[in-house]
Structures are given as C-alpha cells and as structure tokens.
Symmetry: C2
Subunit: 361 residues, 2 copies
Amino acid sequence: MTDADGLARLRLIRTSSVGPVTFTQLLARFGTAQAALDAIPDLARRGGGSAPRIPSLADAEREAMAVQRAGGTYLFAGRPGYPALLAEAEGAPPVLSVAGDISLLMRPTVAMVGARNASAAAVRFARQLAVELSQLGFVIVSGLARGIDTAAHRGALDGGTIGVVASGLDIVYPPENEGLQREMQVRGLVVSEQPPGTEPHARHFPARNRIIAGLALGTLVVEAAPKSGSLITARLAADYGREVMAVPGSPLDPRAQGCNQLIRDGATLIQTAADVVEAIRPFASQVRSPTQGFELAPEPINGHDALALVEELLGPSPVPVDEIIRLSGASSGAVQMALLELDLAGRLDRHAGGKVSFRGS
Amino acid sequence: MTDADGLARLRLIRTSSVGPVTFTQLLARFGTAQAALDAIPDLARRGGGSAPRIPSLADAEREAMAVQRAGGTYLFAGRPGYPALLAEAEGAPPVLSVAGDISLLMRPTVAMVGARNASAAAVRFARQLAVELSQLGFVIVSGLARGIDTAAHRGALDGGTIGVVASGLDIVYPPENEGLQREMQVRGLVVSEQPPGTEPHARHFPARNRIIAGLALGTLVVEAAPKSGSLITARLAADYGREVMAVPGSPLDPRAQGCNQLIRDGATLIQTAADVVEAIRPFASQVRSPTQGFELAPEPINGHDALALVEELLGPSPVPVDEIIRLSGASSGAVQMALLELDLAGRLDRHAGGKVSFRGS
C-alpha cells in the first residue's frame, strides 16, 4: 500500500504545471510533499496566476489502486529502492511505477536502443549481443518498441532486462509485444512514469528516452537513421555523463548513418560484447548514491522584491537561472522561489541546461 | 636521357645491401652517388665483410633504357620533380620510375585502398567516392590491385589518379588490369620502385604500401579484414603523420572488421566525400619541401675506434641508434659511419624507428 507521503508525492507530481524540476524544488523548499501541496495556491497567486489543479487524495488513491491492479508498485525519488543512477540524471522522474523484479535496478545496466524498422541482420546482432551482455552480468535496458528494442529484451530475458514504456503500466504497445511485456512484468521489470491508462503519445517518447538513458551506465545504439529517437536517447546519455556507444554500418544504408554519425561525434564504436564491457567499465565505478540535485540557500528570502526583479529579467528566450541570479543581485534562494511561483502560476517554461523563459501565450 | 649522376644513383640503390636508409646516409656522407660508389669497397672491408655487388654503368644504362621503353622516366630523391610528401616519409625510395602525367604529383592527394575481395557495395561506394573526390580536385592514389584499388582508379581516371605497382613499370598485374594500367600510363601516373622486369612478389607489397601512404595527405581504407595489407598502409600513413580514415561496416561482415577496428583505434570515420575533405584539410597546409632526413656531424670521424665500440654494443635485438651513440661515447657521425660500414659489409639489419641489429646468420 502507498503511504501518506507517497500519496502526497503522487498528488504533487500529477498537479498541472508541476514537472520533475519544480517537484524537486518544492520538496527541497517545503520539506514534504504535503507542505508543498498546502503552499501551492499561495505561491501561484504570488506568481500572478490562478492556482493549478491539484488532484485530490481520492484521485491519488484511485491511481495507486490501478497501479496495484497492474501488478505494479511505486518508487519515489530520494526514498529507498529508487535507482541510484537515474537519481543522478537531471530532471529524473519523482515517481516511477514499476512491475516485476525490482532487484534488477541494483545491477549494472546497459541500454540498447535502435531503429523500429531495423534490418534483419541488425535485429539478430542486437539479440545476440544482449544474450552475451546478459551472460556477463549486465541488465539490458530498452524501450519495448519494435525492432532493436524487442530484440534486446528477448535476448536478455533470461539474464535480466528492464523495459521503459511511454504509456501507463497497464497499456501494452505495440500490440505484438503483449506477450513480451507480460513476461517482463514477471521475469524482468517494466517501468513507467505515466499514470495507468495513459496511452503512448509521441510527446511521451523523449521523456521515456531520458529514463532509459538515465537508468544505464551507457547507451548503445544498434541501428539508427539520422534524426531518429535513438539518437535523442544517446544525446541524453551524453548529457548525463554516461558512455555513448554505437554499432557501425555501411554508409550506403540509411539506417546505419545515425550510428556512424554518433561515432564521428565521439561515441565508442562497438563490434562485440567485449567492446561494450571495455567501454562501460570506467563508468561502473562512478555510480554514486542518489543526490538531492538542488539546495536552497539558508538566508531569509526576500520573496516579493525578487519576484518583481525576476519578472523584469525574464523574456521569451531561455536564459540560464544562474544569469538571472547574477543580474538580479538577489539571493539564489529568492530567485528560485520567484521562479517556482511563476512556474506554479503557469507563466514559466523550463528548458534543458537549467534555462528558463516566460511561457509563450 | 638519364644523366651521369642519375646513373650513379641507380647503381648505388641497386647495390646489394644498400637500402633507402643506407643510400641516404652514403649520399650525405660522400656528397655524390659516384663518390659513395667509389668508397663502398673500402667501407665494406672496414666493416669486416666482402664488398657488395655494385652494378656496372652498363647495367644501369640497360635499366634506364628499359624504363624508357616502358614509357617511363626516373625521379630522384632530393632532385626536382620528386614528390615532396613522399620525400618526408622515413625510408622513402631514392629512385622512382614513373610513367604518365607527372604533374599529378604536384596536386593534393588522397590514398584509397581496401580489400581485393571487396563486396559489390563497397566497390560501388569506392568508385563513387573517387569520382566525387576527383571532382573536388584530389588525385587518388592506390595500388592497382583487384577490388577497391581498381574501383578507386577507375572512378578517378578523368580527374587524375596515381597507381603504385609492386612490380617493375613494364609488368602488368593483375592481368585483368592491363587495360587500366596502360590507360593510367597515359592519362594517370604509374609509379614503381623496382627495376623493369621485376615480378610482383609478396615481399614487395609492404614496400609498395609505404609509397602509397607516403604520396598521400591521408589514407582511406574502404573495406579491409583484420590483418590485411590495407591496414599496413594505414599504419604507415599514421607513422608518417598523415590522416588515417576508414569506411565503417557491419560487425557481422568480416571485410568491415578491419576498418571498424581502425576507427576504434582513432581513424576518422568516413561516410561521404565531404568527410574526407574535412579530415584532409588540416594536412593540406602541412606539406613542406623535401628534407634531407639525415645530417652527419661536422666533427672529424674517429672511425676505427668507433667501429670496434659499435660492434661491441650491437646484438641480435634491435636497439635505437641514439642509444648506441649515447653508450659508445663516440660522436654521432662516427657511429653512423661505423653502422654504414657494417651495413655495406652485409652485417647489419636496419629496423623501423631507427633501430639496428647485427644481421642474423
């Protein structure tokens, strides 16, 4: 059963305009999710907007029941069981629902991703590589999509594999993977950031990809066309300071060109499982315990003045929060607080690299 | 017609136990090839061996006539017309015979080499790449072998291409390339280090490969199995400080594994002609005029003492010449002279990286 703090966290993350970054800052500022929930209406009013819709306790209980019916349970960032590597990734999900063998999260992980329309040769290669990495003790993380993802999961099923879905835990997609996903919810692990009932929309895929990259010591791309989603996963892995690897192919095959470009950009060229182990080894020792990610300064917050200053400094173009702090002359804590208020009022957009802008109307 | 100095150089390089390094040192020591020829019997006697066989002037004239009959002419290291890039390579040939358009040696060059049993796709890719690099103004250097070499030459025939053969200028190998080689002796350029009549033996291939690597700003390997000759050419290019490039392929194809390994070792991954141009550009500005490669110290040579010291320090394992100089306490010039004498007496082996050893009996 989900405890009171868990239900409060669930209500907080499901509140409109509360994303992972805002969630983490609210928790850091107010100590508990419940205290943050209590403060939100006032914060939003100060930010100049109407209060966001906060799910009721009953809503949260209903979601928790649905996760349980799907055979799942929750993992909360900063609480025991949450995967340490993912916790280190910027914007990690505050709440995950997971079904299956959660002990897989404690073992060394490699992500394998690639084209949905992969060549038969690449599918065979991915499956065999997953078998071998499995036998070497690695857990294979992927996205339960067609093509390379499916091959990677199937190859690793006996040794341990984690599938991250863009939908809720109770939705199977693509339909032909129903058997695989059901089996992974018992012998492997299926992970979702979305509430049950969520269909896999295109807009959820980048968020799913960041979880794949965040869960793994390194990401291997097996076959990928230029501008494909697998390359986004690889870029996220690089952003998180993880190893990026790619399997080369003929420049005449468009499905290899994305991987070849990754290698040109510095990814490690992979031909064998031994190549993966060699590339991953330096990262395996760097796994640290979860971090808080954000700390407010202890000084008293001069909230009202800071809010006006920050509003003045913000525009439609993303600027680094550090720059706003510097230009405002206000304390870091006061600026962060002002940004929180604007965020909750629906007036702020947060971008990669700690940048913020006024939300476009 | 070959002049007297040219004929003397020809006699010197065709003397048994005179390789490119010894040739260069003799020329530096004695000023002219004729003076070196005159000194050889005495030097060999001091080195403790019998005098090597020196071809007669008539022998040299016969060779020069044969080169002329084959439509060729000579280029001598250190004299006008000798390719500047090749002159910079350690152990460059003192004498080349060439047939065709020698102005091609003045233009920017890229070597393209690869498997004789290349896949149809790789052959097509190599030919198309050669066409495009040609159109961009690059002269394509290769080895006139089957497979990738042939495709590279054919693609570059209109724009300019240089073929380096392991045989004499008058021998065609492989037989099916007779038409191509004849055409290149008119529209392109065919280069040989061997005297006319020399059949292409396996032992000549590494020497041929060093000329390919030495003539080019960079070497691109298109398809190559592990441990193939193309990888030797790539390693020589790296030794000469040139750009090394490789076209990737599926790890499932053994003919791609050598290229993939090159990329793992730092070669630039190539997918397009633009990739080659980008990789080569920094090297194009580094072309310098021919260097002498070796300078003897001006101090008086205490030859006899040095010879005894050097004989004592030499063993069957290769040691750097610098170390012998240091350990002997003799001048650099005296040690080099002693090594020359041992070399001409057939008692010295010279190895890569300026190392020497006593010749195994």
